[in-house]
């Protein structure tokens, strides 16, 4: 028996989910253990040290670096306003003094008598952290952040664009293999997480953005459309910081590929519910996948059914994830143990897949992922 490769995508109708919300530096946590929070509620806030502006005061005043300290009007630790004089030359017999006015507001951090450089720190930058997912605060790390726990339905996508957002789940298609086009996007989708079936087209993304949808989820999309949406050819798969006005998540891959029935049905069950979504993706060591989190009632007695892959066994359903059969669904028919020479000339361990048409094909074991139909 062999373990099938899956990208480790999690799709579950119920699980305990906790999300750690942390400030980048110490600050104020505004909630306490046991508090109920909603997704867009601010749970912690602080001020980041401002930007640093080095000022080469020796050059600016045309004096030797060692003289700068004595010519400073504002000393280390002192606050200055934009346009305020911070240093002044001695002049000639007390006349013809030259002043230097600060180009920025901030605080004088250091004055160096070696380089004549003054480090001016800009005003503090406010940072706010939202709860992101509706739930209950279960842990508070003083001055750092908190943990929000909820019972959720959880779906990991395979690739996404854009950061955290939340909205109501609304369907724009009737079936998991239906392509999402602009004509399916309606005005009442404003603020919604819009669900498509198979491929998301570029005009549907544009239309969804126009009507104010917060996110769009579909089975696949064309890379050419992604390039047009982003305005550049995406090279390295590190996303999440794009400011495109909408978060886009594909659950299966690139091209014309239907959303897995299990994912589609799960989302359908929760149409009208609030969902928190994040398109951030990192395909490197320490992989990060986009996610759709749907908080559900904690009282519901339904048991968790999780699906994360498993072992290749005869009869199991799978999808082929590489050309020439990309996206085709079938079942394991045979698992020959001996390596097989592929059409490419390479030798690899393979399996025989029976397609829905009744036809059988040989595929490398590395090129399939198990699915639940």
């Amino acid at each position: 028996m062999a373990h099938a490769y899956t990208p480790g995508l999690k799709v579950t109708n119920r699980m305990k989910h906790s999300v750690v919300r942390m400030l980048p530096i110490k600050g104020d946590v505004m909630v306490k253990v046991g508090d109920s929070v909603v997704a867009d509620q601010i749970v912690a806030a602080t001020y980041m040290p401002g930007d640093v502006y080095p000022l080469n005061m020796a050059n600016l005043l045309a004096v030797p670096p060692k003289d700068v300290l004595s010519l400073m009007i504002c000393k280390e630790g002192q606050k200055v306003e934009k346009g305020e004089a911070v240093a002044e030359t001695a002049g000639i017999f007390g006349k013809f003094k030259k002043k230097y006015n600060s180009p920025y507001a901030g605080t004088i951090e250091t004055v160096s008598d070696v380089t004549g450089q003054v480090i001016l720190r800009g005003p503090d930058i406010p940072v706010e952290v939202k709860a992101y997912v509706t739930g209950t605060v279960t842990d508070v790390n003083p001055e750092i952040g908190c943990t929000v726990e909820s019972d959720v339905a959880f779906i990991q996508g395979i690739f996404g664009i854009g950061g955290e957002t939340c909205g109501t789940i609304k369907f724009a298609v009737k079936a998991s293999d239906e392509i999402l086009t602009a004509s399916s996007i309606t005005q009442d989708m404003k603020g919604c997480v819009v669900i498509g079936g198979a491929r998301i087209t570029d005009d549907s993304i544009e239309e969804a953005r126009k009507v104010g949808a917060v996110a769009l989820v579909g089975g696949g999309m064309d890379d050419q459309d992604l390039k047009e949406f982003l305005g550049y050819d995406l090279g390295v798969a590190i996303t999440g910081s794009e400011k495109k006005g909408i978060t886009v998540i594909v659950t299966e891959g690139f091209g014309d590929i239907a959303m897995a029935n299990r994912t589609f049905d799960l989302l359908k069950r929760f149409e009208g519910h609030e969902a928190s979504v994040n398109g951030a993706t990192q395909i490197r060591a320490g992989v990060m996948r986009p996610e759709i989190i749907i908080p559900i009632d904690s009282g519901a007695s339904e048991v968790e059914i999780e699906y994360e892959g498993g072992y290749l066994e005869i009869g199991k359903s799978l999808r082929i994830i590489r050309d020439p059969y990309f996206g085709i669904i079938g079942t394991v028919k045979a698992l020959p143990s001996e390596p097989h020479v592929l059409g490419s000339g390479s030798k690899a361990r393979v399996l025989e897949v029976e397609l829905k048409t009744g036809e059988s094909v040989i595929v490398p074991r590395a090129n399939v992922e198990l699915i639940e139909e």
């Binding site: 490769y5 640093v52 380089t115 395979i158 064309d222 050419q224 395909i283 990309f326 490419s344 390479s346």
Partner: protein, 608 residues
Amino acid sequence: MTIDLENISVILATDCGSTTTKAILIEKIDGQYRQTYRGEAPTTVEKPFANVTIGVTNAVTEISELAGRKLTNEDGTINQPAQGDDGCDLYISTSSAGGGLQMMVAGVIAEMTAASAKRAALGAGAIVMDVISTNDKRRPHEQIQRIRELRPDMILISGGTDGGTTEKVVQLAELIAPAKPQPRFGSEYEMPIIFAGNKMAASEVESTLQEDWIDLAIVENLRPKLEQENLGPARDKIHDVFLEHVMAHAPGYDMLMDWSDAPIMPTPGAVGDILQTIAKKENINVVGVDIGGATTDVFSVFEGTFNRTVSANLGMSYSISNVCAEATMPNVLRWVHFDMDERQLRNRVKNKMIRPTTIPQSLESLIFEQAVAREALRLAYKQHKEFATTLKGVQQQRTVGDTFSQQTGGNTIVNNMTLNLLVASGGVLSHAPSMNQTAMMLVDAFEPEGCTDLAKDSIFMMPHLGVLSAVHPEAAAQVFERDCLVYLGTCIAAKGLGKLGKPCFSWTLSGDVNASGTCNFGDLECIDMAPDQTATILCEPARGFDLGAGNGKKVSHEVRGGTVGLIIDGRGRPLGLPEDRQQCQMSMKTWVENMALYEEIDVAVATA
């Protein structure tokens, strides 16, 4: 510890990669060191194991089973010394697990001290995340912002020749101190900063960097004079800090360091060492490449000068999309001899990126991946040539005679005409279904000129041999020569351009193989020469072509055979493919057929 080299008969070496730990066994057979067995297992630095030695034990256990030699004790430790058919005499290891060594470097001038600092860091096996210099066109607050965002394992500061600028060097330190970069190993980690700049500025730098989160080390200036680099002390310090700080924070490495009889080296540093050893021993110029899923490393040794570059986003799985974005799809497709749908290809590339472990099943898919590999290698080598230069900023004395032939400093030292050996490693090159495919990927991407031997690392054992060369150079050299390198053959290629079909050079081969012919411009052919065969080739280039002796001048080379044979390349250098797509496909089709690249597979069926 002292190692008695005379009594070493069994050597065990491991390389702990990001995903796989590879172990090899070297045994002394009839007085010669030979690599005998190999085992591998997943690397175990991540949870739930979080201990690198578990992966090492698993890989070594595989060898034990294959070799029938008990190499581990009951508690999982290495069984030493060898007694009869059990144990080993020497255990060594390299590592790039956990993302390897990530560094940030800084220097006063980008092209001078900062470039030298980058060379020192790369030579030590690091990934250089960014280079900060006073002339990098970023404003100081932007530089500080960048330093804040990075999470390096250590920082190397250079700048100023000895007795040169102090002020600019201290300014660099003043950028780093307020930025307070966050190390990736958490806030408890003291950031190691190595200062290797103007010795007169050392005390000022020390006082500027007096912070409780900094662990400052001061070493000799890596550029004491503009015309002199002294990278050794900085490289050694980087290795020390790597072991003391970075490795010490990686799970299980304290145990692994105890097991190992020699210091653990970063994997690319070890590969660089073995290539330097071989270049020195054979007195040749060598280029080596290792193409992985995410990155491509290029190493070169020309006239004894070693350089290494890491192209961080050029690779065949995680980075395949970036290769296509950087090279552009038309440049990738020029290596494909039939029509392909670009929209569909773009989706395939992205699907490979998000599912990096899939493999090409169809011939069409393999041909496309090998086309991408050519572009990844070409771009990585281009970056390498731009980086491996003579020292910039060196004052030159000129005479009137130099008026029309003036050269500035900073010219690349990589010279394809004087390159003797090109070594390939990495999945797409090592696992290509035919050796001819590997050879042609190398020739098309690196464009060797004159006479160049082609070889590949049989089972990616260069890292192991690199660390072994530091402990037992003789054993490393013997295994490298006999078991590591698989010679593909020799490439004879003329530099220059001409008209298609017109004579490029004539050649006569005498020795174990006797043959002669004329190579026209645009021709590419392969002469059978077995791995144990050698011959002398006498070449007479046409006007405008150079095979090593100058324009149109006769030259003879000693050539060796290999699994591919002798490649006679008359396509000219620089290698330019026809711009017209149809014409390009026709040329590629002829070359593919002449080199028998995909002969055992019916292309028509595969592409239908």
